[in-house]
């Protein structure tokens, strides 16, 4: 579903992502963990086509994001860590815009507005929305078009506990439906509970990769993901 081959990104002399190789299959929830500046967001931005890799390849459902960006983008849904949306559109208009640009029907707009408890604010301008509401609106814009791959950068930031639980359930359901979810997070608990496989990245390199159990085995003595994370990132 997602295949990263020798993926590298340099910003001038600084290497943000260093020769990453990854393969994530259909229906998998894959988590990428790492300290600040490790290269998580850069990786997600490259997969979504927002950033151009310095070298290497990204293949999403058989489409090379550099060679066939339109085909690849049609099946990708991206939720950035700070999802800025057009402030002078209403929530409903934003979803209509998304439906239009991705060429899908608008029939499900009300359903998703209801699901994310945005129905009452649907006809208000987005500029009056809180960060969490905007986050949910963008997520509704992703789900409404049923993408095959969802990229989430810090997906729970700004969400209240109820919404956080809701979106976690949604991610699980999407995964069962066969949607691949690639998420980056600082919340180790989220990664531990949600992800079927994890990668720990530091200074642009993957330093550990596998299921939670495999990672625990990797570090031998550690009991939970937090211990594993600290052990691995401190050793680098």
């Amino acid at each position: 579903m997602i295949k990263l081959t020798n993926l590298t990104k340099k910003f001038k002399d600084k290497i943000a992502v260093d020769d990453i190789n990854l393969e994530i299959s259909s229906g998998e929830i894959f988590g990428i963990l790492g300290p600040n500046g490790a290269g998580k967001t850069t990786t997600i931005k490259m997969i979504s086509g927002l950033l151009k890799p310095t070298s290497g390849n990204i293949n999403v459902c058989g489409f090379d994001i550099q060679k066939h960006p339109i085909s690849a983008k049609k099946i990708i849904g991206l939720l950035p860590d700070t999802p800025f949306v057009y402030q002078k559109l209403t929530g409903r208009e934003f979803l209509e815009f998304i439906c239009g640009i991705y060429e899908v029907g608008c029939e499900k707009i009300d359903e998703y507005l209801e699901l994310f408890e945005l129905k009452n604010a649907a006809d208000e301008l987005v500029e009056s929305y809180s960060h969490g509401m905007q986050q949910k609106l963008v997520l509704a814009g992703i789900l409404i078009r049923d993408p095959k791959v969802i990229l989430l950068d810090e997906p729970l930031v700004g969400l209240d506990p109820k919404s956080a639980r809701l979106v976690k359930n949604i991610y699980n359901e999407q995964s069962k439906k066969g949607t691949t979810i690639f998420l980056s997070t600082h919340i180790l608990e989220l990664a531990e509970k949600l992800c079927s496989r994890l990668a720990i990245i530091d200074k642009g390199k993957i330093i550990a990769l596998g299921t939670l159990d495999e990672l625990k085995t990797h570090t031998e003595t550690e009991k939970n993901l937090e211990d594993v994370f600290f052990r691995l990132t401190e050793n680098v």
Binding site: K12, L89, C99, I101
Partner: protein, 559 residues
């Protein structure tokens, strides 16, 4: 305290230079070069005017003073309004305010820091444009270094007075109407006021000062010219200081200089005193209010899915972006205010045409032809204000476009298609009404219509292309986009394009005029063909090259 803020600004500036990319340094060097050429041309032009006026007996000197006084008055009014509008962004709505207020700093100090920033941002451009005037005058009067140093130092209180007035107005207004949306209304009102003031200035025709034949007696004319222009305003004090220094009237020079300095101190004390009482309350209230209280909202509820695929117009690719752009444009009150200014500009433009004394065939034809270039320059300015920022207006939401299955090429042509009709309409309206007023000849009417449509198309493409080549997605307000390096480069190229087009058009117009004059056909087809081919070539390059470069830039741009 202020040392820290100053260090912060200097450090930020140094870092900006230090970490500048090769491309950015190239762009900046280009801008410096172009800016320098522009200022030099301004200097040369002004120098020639001053040399001429200096030779006019009796009234030459008076006219120079009058000219300076009017320029300084214009600068002063511009400074007040620019300070007023910029102070909203810097003093009340800048991104770092939350951080600053959360720090253990006296609120007064935060205000002063922002006040200084406002003064700087509002004044630097006026200073740059003032320099050619100052140096030209200094040169004709053989002034020494002391003259330049003194006048430049006197500009500081001049700028501070304007800044105090502008910032004080915005502070009082924010206290009275703290809603964020009131800022929009105020900007509208402000712009309306400027528009009205401009209209007023046009209608009273200050150029009458330069038309001696309108007054009955020479003595009366001299007395009109001798009258100070707004003698109670700092613009007159500064003008006087400039001329008193040159004429070595040190006593009076000191009086006017002291007046500037003392008044600047007084206004600063007043603004600080009042802001000390009002700033925190206004700042806090401005963050509490949301929603439109007075501005009408677009009724979109009756039209579900106009943006989306369920629309009766089948949505393919760019149509949703088009509808989105239209909605955002009409909801952005910053655009409304500019539309009002545009309206004022049109009225002034047409009024001037109406007032022109066109008694001869030659004069009528000349003005009809020059009207094309004037309309072209107006379109260039309008496209800079409305079309050039269109790409940048995507702002931080540009990630949505980049992540969407839409090619950059389609995205740019969407911007083009959104802008072309209003600009072409505006251009043909200007030309149509002015041709009607001028009672222009058929040939010139046809030529001007054809030319303005081509100019509209090309300027739209250039503005979109340059806007994509120099996008600024992280600005706080639209003014920062048009006054950016890219905006200025676009303006220079667009003006050059209009100039080139009109120069080429002058060839057939001259042949037509001579044909009419000598009553024989000298419209040589060979020459006309060369002109037409040249025009087509120039327009094709001017349309497709910026669009291509802009597309390439956005395609590789990291978001």
């Amino acid at each position: 305290m202020f040392k820290i803020f100053l260090r912060l600004e200097i450090r930020s500036f140094i870092n900006k230079i230090k970490f500048v990319s090769w491309m950015d340094s190239f762009k900046s060097s280009f801008l410096f070069l172009v800016g320098f050429i522009f200022l030099h041309l301004l200097y040369q032009g002004f120098f020639r005017i001053l040399v001429y006026l200096n030779t006019v007996e009796i009234i030459g000197g008076l006219l120079i003073i009058k000219l300076f006084a009017m320029i300084m008055l214009t600068f002063f009014v511009m400074l007040i309004f620019s300070n007023m509008i910029i102070s909203f962004s810097t003093v009340y709505f800048s991104n770092d305010l939350g951080f600053l207020v959360s720090m253990p700093l006296p609120i007064k100090n935060i205000f002063i820091y922002k006040f200084i920033k406002t003064t700087f941002f509002s004044s630097w451009m006026v200073l740059l444009i003032f320099l050619p005037f100052l140096f030209a005058y200094g040169r004709i009067k053989f002034a020494g270094a002391g003259f330049y140093v003194s006048i430049l130092l006197l500009l500081i209180p001049f700028f501070l007075i304007a800044s105090s007035i502008g910032t004080l107005t915005s502070t009082v207004f924010m206290r009275l109407f703290p809603s964020q949306k009131m800022r929009d209304i105020f900007i509208i009102l402000g712009v309306v006021t400027v528009g009205v003031a401009y209209l007023f200035a046009r209608f009273i025709q200050p150029e009458d000062f330069l038309k001696a034949d309108k007054l009955d007696e020479v003595v009366q004319y001299i007395s009109v010219v001798q009258m100070p222009t707004a003698k109670y305003l700092p613009s007159w004090w500064l003008t006087s200081a400039i001329f008193l220094y040159v004429s070595k009237q040190w006593g009076n020079f000191l009086i006017f200089s002291s007046l500037l300095i003392v008044v600047s101190f007084i206004t600063i004390i007043i603004v600080i005193y009042i802001s000390d009482k009002l700033y925190y309350e206004s700042l806090a209230s401005s963050r509490e209010s949301t929603g439109y209280k007075f501005l009408p909202k677009l009724d979109i509820k009756g039209k579900p899915c106009v943006i989306g695929a369920r629309s009766t117009i089948k949505s393919r690719g760019i149509f949703p972006i088009f509808v989105k752009d239209v909605k955002i444009f009409f909801r952005d009150t910053g655009q409304w205010s500019q539309l009002l200014l545009l309206l004022a500009l049109v009225v002034v433009y047409l009024f001037n045409i109406y007032k022109l004394p066109l008694d001869t065939f030659f004069l009528k034809s000349l003005i009809s032809f020059l009207n094309i270039s004037l309309a072209g320059f107006v379109l260039a300015a309008v496209s800079l204000r409305f079309i050039y920022p269109m790409v940048s207006m995507e702002g931080k939401s540009f990630w949505l476009i980049k992540a969407a299955p839409v090619t950059v090429k389609k995205f740019l042509w969407e911007k083009f298609s959104m802008a072309i009709i209003p600009l072409a309409f505006f251009g043909t309206l200007l030309i149509g009404v002015s041709n009607y007023m001028l009672n222009a000849e058929k040939f010139l009417s046809f030529l001007s219509f054809a030319a303005i449509i081509f100019i509209s198309i090309t300027l739209t493409a250039m503005a979109v292309g340059f806007g994509a080549l120099f996008p600024k997605f992280k600005v706080e307000n639209i003014a920062q986009v048009e006054s950016s390096v890219g905006g200025m480069i676009y303006m220079i190229f667009s003006l050059f394009y209009v100039f080139l087009t009109v120069s080429l058009l002058a060839v057939p117009v001259r042949l037509w005029f001579l044909s009419r004059l000598y009553n024989k056909n000298i419209m040589y087809p060979g020459i006309i063909m060369i002109v037409v081919i040249s025009l087509i070539a120039i327009n094709l390059v001017a349309v497709f090259l910026p669009m291509y470069l802009g597309r390439k830039n956005l395609e590789v741009l990291d978001v």
